[in-house]
Symmetry: C2
Subunit: 466 residues, 2 copies
């Protein structure tokens, strides 16, 4: 059975050669001369890839549940996206790229309102647009620092002092603030200098790069199955919140904001309960610290809600929500007007995003709504999770700490020989990614259906039983 949403998918994976095969190897040899290919996973021919299937130059077609590090939303060569890409609007946007802060196009408000803002998280009706996830988080951090200093200064009307202006030019306090962003252990928020200071994934991401003296708290390490460890897990979450509060009150570089992922993704798919996040919202509110929710990987439907933080039933929204990846553009949503700094040109850069990519997100949203793909993902995720529970019982030790129940297809498990597991999966026709130390993370697209889940489960079984 092929896809219900997209024409032209193969019925099943096709594995014709070793991966990389001879044609791929030739291309890789050429590419290595000018581009670092040591992190290359597989080469792709995107003209031939379709729907849930990534196709390589040797004619191998793999069911892709990695999806460009969770960034392809509605399938390769989706015809609705193709139509948007071929539209006169897109062509104009591509060849006349504006400096959005200075010279926005007359229809920019319309593009925002029918696209990026149409899916704005509840309570957040403003957006600052950017280029990619790191950029979205860094501009959110900047907004947090300016907001906090403005509050402490006595409001937007209070002018900067001479001392502040002079010391800022020397990278010194008080002009350069001595404030921090609090993040969590095993978090990933990006790899530029500000975001990397909040990223705590792996040494290889951080080694040799100067970092800010910013605090981090322990993220609750839940035990699975959840129902057998309710008490311990509640304690882990309470301890984490207590640590956050302690750091907010005592860290020598005070946090202006706490940033958290709804599910720590690069860090190994670490979950916490809605109660934990409600606690975090209450705590940050109590201490006048902003809460930034990093939905770069969790956003745009994969957890069975458009935004993963909708699972939490928060009494008040986060202060900022950052997005990228499946949105194919980036930025941060906010609601409080005081998060716009008190003067122009404080939060500014040349491009401030990309209208072409904003048009693409608009088409993605249309496609998601047309097929109700968020509901599809919730439904297929439940189905897949059930099947994986079966596998976990059948193959003890191979699908450890199965997690992501009720979180759409945002599912992971641990395997003791994870890297080998991922390699083997290719032989059985499936492209899967890993994260953290031992997690196999599933990141299907939103057009992933039950029959794709069946193919995946069959392949996973072959991987552990072969």
């Amino acid at each position: 059975m092929a896809s219900s949403f997209l024409p032209g998918e193969p019925e099943r994976p096709v594995v014709k050669t070793e991966i990389p095969g001879p044609a791929s190897k030739e291309y890789i040899t050429k590419l290595t001369q000018v581009f670092d290919t040591r992190s290359l996973n597989m080469l792709a021919d995107y003209t031939k890839s379709v729907g849930n299937y990534i196709v390589d130059p040797d004619g191998n077609a793999l069911l892709d549940v990695y999806a460009q590090i969770a960034s392809i939303p509605v399938g390769y060569n989706n015809p609705v996206l193709r139509k948007a890409a071929e539209s006169p609007e897109m062509v104009t946007a591509l060849i006349n790229r504006p400096a959005l802060g200075n010279f926005p196009s007359h229809d920019w408000a319309d593009v925002l309102e029918t696209g990026i803002l149409k899916v704005a998280p509840k309570g957040l009706n403003q957006v600052f647009t950017g280029m990619a996830g790191s950029d979205a988080n860094e501009t959110a951090y900047k907004a947090a620092f300016m907001w906090r200093r403005q509050r402490d200064r006595g409001g937007p009307a209070v002018e900067f002092t001479e001392e502040e202006m002079e010391s800022s030019m020397l990278n010194k306090s008080p002009g350069a603030s001595e404030l921090s962003i609090l993040s969590f252990k095993t978090a990933f928020h990006g790899r530029l200098f500000g975001t990397l200071s909040t990223t705590r994934s792996k040494p290889i991401h951080k080694l040799d790069i100067p970092a800010f003296d910013w605090p981090h708290a322990t993220f609750p390490q839940l035990k699975y199955p959840l129902e057998e460890h309710a008490e311990e897990n509640a304690k882990a979450e309470a301890d984490s919140l207590a640590e956050v509060e302690h750091l907010i009150k005592n860290y020598h570089v005070p946090p202006a904001a706490v940033i958290v992922e709804p599910i720590q993704s690069e860090g190994g798919d670490n979950h916490a309960s809605p109660a934990f996040f409600r606690g975090l919202r209450a705590l940050t509110k109590k201490h006048g610290v902003l809460l930034i929710v990093d939905e770069v990987q969790t956003g745009v439907g994969a957890t069975g809600k458009f935004w993963a933080h909708e699972h939490w039933d928060l009494p008040e929204p986060p202060d900022m929500v950052t997005f990228s990846k499946k949105a194919q553009t980036a930025g941060f949503y906010y609601g409080d007007p005081t998060l716009r700094p008190n003067k122009p040109y404080r939060q500014f850069n040349t491009w401030m995003g990309d209208p072409a990519r904003a048009l693409l997100f608009r088409a993605i949203i249309e496609e998601i709504q047309r097929h109700d793909l968020v509901a599809n993902t919730a439904r297929v995720g439940d189905y897949l999770f059930g099947k994986l529970e079966g596998l976990a019982k059948k193959y003890p030790g191979q699908f450890d700490n199965l997690r992501g129940k009720g979180q759409g297809t945002f599912i992971a498990f641990d395997n003791p020989k994870r890297d080998e597991f991922l390699k083997k999966a290719k032989k059985f026709g499936v492209n899967i990614g890993g994260s953290g130390a031992s997690a196999v993370r599933l990141r299907p697209m939103l057009i992933f259906e039950k029959h794709h889940a069946d193919i995946l489960v069959e392949a996973l079984e072959k991987v552990v039983s072969s």
Copy 2:
């Protein structure tokens, strides 16, 4: 006379209304509700803009010598770019965006070699691709830090110590290195956390944002006309180089690299002589410090060379050259293979650039070469400079410190009432930008011709004489 390079340009500017006119005002009111418009300069209708002319929704058509903060290379709605934007290759690239480090497309080497690398600066045959100027500079900084630590550690084969790995996760030395990037006063290199620490343009760009304790040296402040101040200027440059050397040897956070713009652009169009830059290359080489040339604003033809540092006649190339803006994509060029870090995933992110924008740069390069637009810019720049010298003589005090001779159309002057000057220019049909405290900076596109220069000069004369 209309453009020789592009069909459809108006003969002259058209100013029908105040700017913003009634139609623009309506759009702006709507946009302000969801997007910060306080830095808005003018609204544009890009469907109607053409060549050197930016058109607004009220039908005003201004000769655009600001060009989206120097980022439009070959004119609005350039037909060659349109063709590239409509090509099947572009559509595929737009709708199937890869994680380039993991899953590059089979033709990525070809896209690089026929595009970005076709214009690689002499001696630099490798590229790391990125999204925008800030990103290009930050990844270049990361390369510098990893390179330096690797050298000090004893080479790529030396493994990280346990202490380095553990301390890196705590943002502490030795894992997080205590090294710096040395930049210059009045430099601008971007506004993310690492680049902002090297940016020394204005307090409004830096206030409230935490910064690294990195050093900066005085950029030579040349006096004009150059021929009347040869001795003083040579001394200013010698002093600057001595300060750089002193900081390299003594700053308590040692520099891994020096970053410099060929012409400090946002900082007010501050120039230095080729001898200064040759001195800087010699000095950095002598002390084992990398030299990064930031060509984000100067690159891609505007100075009458493809890269501005070609004016310097360097005996050895810079270690890295960063680019963006007119390239419509971004990244850094390098040559030394040891600038690829010793392990994969150290210099990595999800998208690592954008093949769609790489295709656009390829088309830009084709268009530049087809019409020999770099030579055109050199020629028209000389013509324009001569005319401006005439104006400067005729209107003393209005075109102070006229600079950029022999640097294509990359020309600037100071005006005591700069902001008013720029506003008035719109009334006379010209869109111009400022920089630094009092500079009027000219940033025409590469398709700017003599008759455009005549229109510009005529308008400038009206501005100062009205």
